[in-house]
Symmetry: C2
Subunit: 429 residues, 2 copies
C-alpha cells in the first residue's frame, strides 16, 4: 500500500476519484436480455439460466421441501449467530418507525405524513463464491418491519441447481414470501416485468455484478424503483496515535477481500502511524486465503498523511466513503465534522465487520462517492411517506385568499377557482 505524504489540496479530487468501468457493450447485452424476459417470461429465464449458469431448471420457485432440507443442513451455531444478528438488525430498524405527527400549520389546516409499505419488493442476492445470507438480513428484515406484503427473492443456483442452505434458511427466517432460482440481469427483468411464475415488484434492492447493476439502472428508467446506484465496496479509516495498527490493518484487509476493485484508504496525520499500519497490513495479507484478490485491491488503495485532524475529516468528506472508521480513542470528537459517509464506526472496537453482520445497522450503503447525496438502506427504503391534509371551512377562510392571489400570479385560473367556489359557499354569497 503506497503512502502519499502531504498531498496538495488540488490533488485531492483525483485521489478521491474511483475507477470507472467501460460499459458500452454492457448496455446492449443487458437491454436485449431484459427485452427477451419481458416478451418470453419464464421461457427466457430458463434459456438464460441454461446459457449463463449451465443449469436446466425444472422449477423456478424454491419448494417447501427444499426449504425444509436447507434448515436441516445449516449448523445450529450458525443459526444462532444469524438469529442474534437478526435481533440486533430488527431492534435498530424498528427504531426507525415513524408515527404520524399531525401538524396544524394554520387554524383549520392539519397536515401529516404516514409511512405506508411498498406493497411488492424484490431482493436480489448474488451467487458466486460467497453466499451472502447477511444481505438477506439487511434487506428482508426492514421489508418485513415496513409491512411489505410480497417480498420476492431471486438468487442464482450452483451447477447442481442448488442454492446455499444458509441463504434459504435466512430467507425463510426473515419472512421472504417467495424464492426463485434465477440470477443475473434476467432476474432483475423478471421482477421488473413479472413472468408466469415471478410476481412483478415495484422496487428492487440488492447487490450484484455489473450485469445486475446495469439491469437495475435500465429498469429504473422504466419506472421500477431501485435501492441506489452501485459501485465497488470501500472503506476509509482515519487513524491516530491512539489507534491499534493490528486492528486497522485487519479492517483495511476485510474491505480488500471483497474484490480486486475494492478500495481501502487510510488517512492520518502521522507518518509513523501510517508506516506501522502498512507494515502490519503486509504481514496479515500473506496469511489470507483470498490474498490474491486482496492484494490487487491493496495495490489499488493508498494511505494519505495530512497536516491536521481537520484536514483528515475534509479529505474523508471529499472522498465520501461507504464505510468510515474513526480508529481513535477520541472518535467522538470527529462526529460533528462528518458530512459525507454511508456508515460510521467509532473507536477502536467498532470494526466494519460488526456493521457488516450484526451491530444492527444496515450494510447496504452508498459507494462511489454517492454518500454525498444518498443514504444507505433503512426502513425508509421500504415505505412511501404519503402526505395527508385536512382543510376545514375555517382553514379555507384563513389561507384561501393567499392561494387565490398566488394561483392568479402563476396564471392558473382554475386553481384559483377551486378556492373561490368554496369561499363563496362558506360566505353564502
Amino acid at each position: 500500500m503506497k503512502i502519499i505524504k502531504r498531498p496538495l489540496p488540488e490533488t485531492w479530487s483525483s485521489l478521491c476519484k474511483r475507477a470507472t468501468i467501460n460499459e458500452n457493450s454492457l448496455q446492449e447485452t443487458v437491454a436485449s436480455i431484459l427485452k427477451e424476459v419481458k416478451q418470453n417470461k419464464d421461457t427466457a429465464l430458463k434459456k438464460y439460466t441454461q446459457l449463463f449458469d449451465g443449469v436446466a431448471l425444472d422449477a423456478i420457485e424454491v419448494s417447501e421441501e427444499e426449504l425444509k432440507e436447507a434448515e436441516s443442513l445449516v449448523a445450529s451455531e450458525l443459526k444462532s449467530a444469524i438469529q442474534l444478528a437478526k435481533k440486533n438488525i430488527e431492534t435498530f430498524h424498528t427504531s426507525q418507525k415513524e408515527t404520524a405527527k399531525k401538524v396544524t400549520t394554520t387554524n383549520g389546516v392539519t397536515c401529516w405524513r404516514k409511512s405506508v409499505a411498498i406493497e411488492k419488493v424484490g431482493l436480489y442476492i448474488p451467487g458466486g463464491s460467497a453466499p451472502l445470507f447477511s444481505t438477506i438480513l439487511m434487506l428482508g428484515i426492514p421489508a418485513k418491519i415496513a409491512g411489505c406484503k410480497e417480498i420476492v427473492l431471486c438468487t442464482p443456483t450452483n451447477k447442481e441447481g442448488k442454492i446455499n442452505p444458509a441463504i434459504l434458511y435466512t430467507a425463510s427466517l426473515v419472512g421472504v414470501t417467495k424464492i426463485f432460482k434465477v440470477g443475473g440481469a434476467q432476474a432483475i427483468g423478471a421482477m421488473a416485468y413479472g413472468t408466469e411464475t415471478i410476481p412483478q415488484v415495484y422496487k428492487i434492492l440488492g447487490p450484484g455484478n455489473q450485469y445486475v447493476t446495469k439491469a437495475k439502472e435500465l429498469v429504473q428508467q422504466q419506472g421500477v424503483a431501485i435501492d441506489m446506484p452501485a459501485g465497488p465496496s470501500e472503506v476509509l479509516v482515519i487513524a491516530d496515535e491512539t489507534s491499534n495498527p493490528e486492528f486497522v490493518a485487519a479492517d483495511l484487509l476485510s474491505q480488500a477481500e471483497h474484490g480486486a476493485d475494492s478500495q481501502a484508504v487510510l488517512v492520518t496525520t502521522s507518518n509513523e502511524v501510517a508506516e506501522n499500519i502498512v507494515t502490519e497490513l503486509n504481514q496479515q495479507l500473506d496469511k489470507l486465503p483470498r490474498k490474491e484478490l486482496a492484494k490487487k485491491a491493496i495495490e489499488n488503495s493508498f494511505a494519505v498523511v495530512l497536516s491536521s485532524k481537520e484536514a483528515c475529516i475534509d479529505f474523508s468528506n471529499s472522498y465520501a466513503p461507504e464505510h468510515l472508521i474513526i480508529a481513535s480513542e477520541q472518535a467522538y470528537k470527529y462526529i460533528d465534522g462528518i458530512i459525507n459517509a454511508g456508515s460510521v464506526f467509532l473507536g477502536n472496537y467498532s470494526c466494519e465487520s460488526a456493521g457488516d453482520y450484526a451491530s444492527g445497522t444496515n450494510h447496504t450503503l452508498p459507494t462511489n462517492g454517492y454518500a454525498k447525496s444518498y443514504s444507505g438502506v433503512s426502513l425508509d427504503s421500504f415505505v412511501k411517506k404519503i402526505t395527508f391534509q385536512e382543510v376545514t371551512q375555517e382553514g379555507i377562510e384563513n389561507i384561501g385568499e393567499a392561494i387565490e392571489l398566488m394561483a392568479e400570479a402563476e396564471g392558473l385560473q382554475a386553481h384559483k377557482n377551486a378556492i373561490t367556489v368554496r369561499l363563496k359557499e362558506i360566505r353564502n354569497v
Copy 2:
C-alpha cells in the same frame, strides 16, 4: 369527460395506464447538449440560450440589482400571500426533522442515524407561461431547513433576458444562494458538471419539460441524484353523495389546466354523482381562460362508477395517483385503505389548490404510478441519513463470535479476522 360504468376488474390496469411518450430522438439530442455543456461549460450555456431561448446573455448569474428591482416589482399583497405559504410550508417541513435516537441493540453496541444536509443542491424552475414561484417554496424551504450550504437555482429568462420578479423575490426569500438565467437540458448539465459560473451540485430537483426530464434521467446515471422520475400531473377524486359537485368539478379542472397531457380521474359508486359532476365540469370549463388546454386534458380523462366504496379505494390504489382527493364528509373512513398515493386531500374543503400552494405539504409528488414506490419531496429529500455505531469491548465480546461464524460461512476470512484480533486483545491471549 366520459363516464365508464362498472368496468370489469380485468380492464382496470389498462384504465390505470398513463400515456407513454416516444422519446428515442430525445435521448440523442439531450445527450449531445449535456456533452457539450460538460466540455465547453459557460460557452455552451450561452450558445444554447441564444439558440433555444433567443437571448444573448451578458451575465449568467442574476445580480444583486436585479434581485432588488424584482422585490420592488412584486405587489405587496402577493408578497404577503407568499409569506403566509412560506410559514405553513416551513412549519410542516420543520416537523419532519429527526433527532438522533441512540439504540442499544446489544450491551456494548450502540447505533443511531444522523440526518446531515446534502451540501450542494440544484433547483430547476421552468419558464414558459406560468412563473412557478410556488415550486421554489416547495424546494427551497426544505433545502434551507435541512441546512444545505449551496442552493443553486436555474431558470430560463423571457425574450428580454428577464426572469419573472415573483420568481426572483421568492428565491431570495427562501434563501437560494445563487440564481442563474439558464433553462432546459443545458441547465441540468451545468448543475451536474459545474461550469466556470455555476457550481456543481450533488442533487437536482424540480419539474421541467421532456428535455429537462430526460437530462435529469441521464445525469442520474452519471451519479447525480435527482428528486424522482417525472410524468404529467394528475388527480384522482373519490366522490360520494356527500360531496359537492361544484367543488369536485373545480378540482378536476384545476388539474386539467396544467397541460393537455394532465389527467383527472373521478371515481364514485353513484351514476348520479358522476353525472352531476360531469355536467358541472362542462359548465365551468367554458369559462376558463386556459380552456383549450383543459379541454384536451379532460378528453384524456374519465369517470368510473364502481360497485362499492372498497372498489373505489382498490381502483385508486391501482392507479396510484399523484393527488388523491377524498371528496366526502366521511373522508376519514378511507384513510386506512390508502396504499398508493402522493398526497391525500381529505374532505370537501381540502382542495388540491391548498396543497399546491399553502397548506404546508409539498407539491412535488410522484406521478405516473410512481406513488407505488416513491414518496414526494420532503425534508428527507435534502439530507442523507448517516448511520453511526459504537461497539465497546463488551460489545465485541457479545457479538464477536456470531460475526466470526457468519463471516466464515460467507467465506470472508479477513472479516472474521477483524473480530479475532480484537477478541484476542480483549482476552489477553
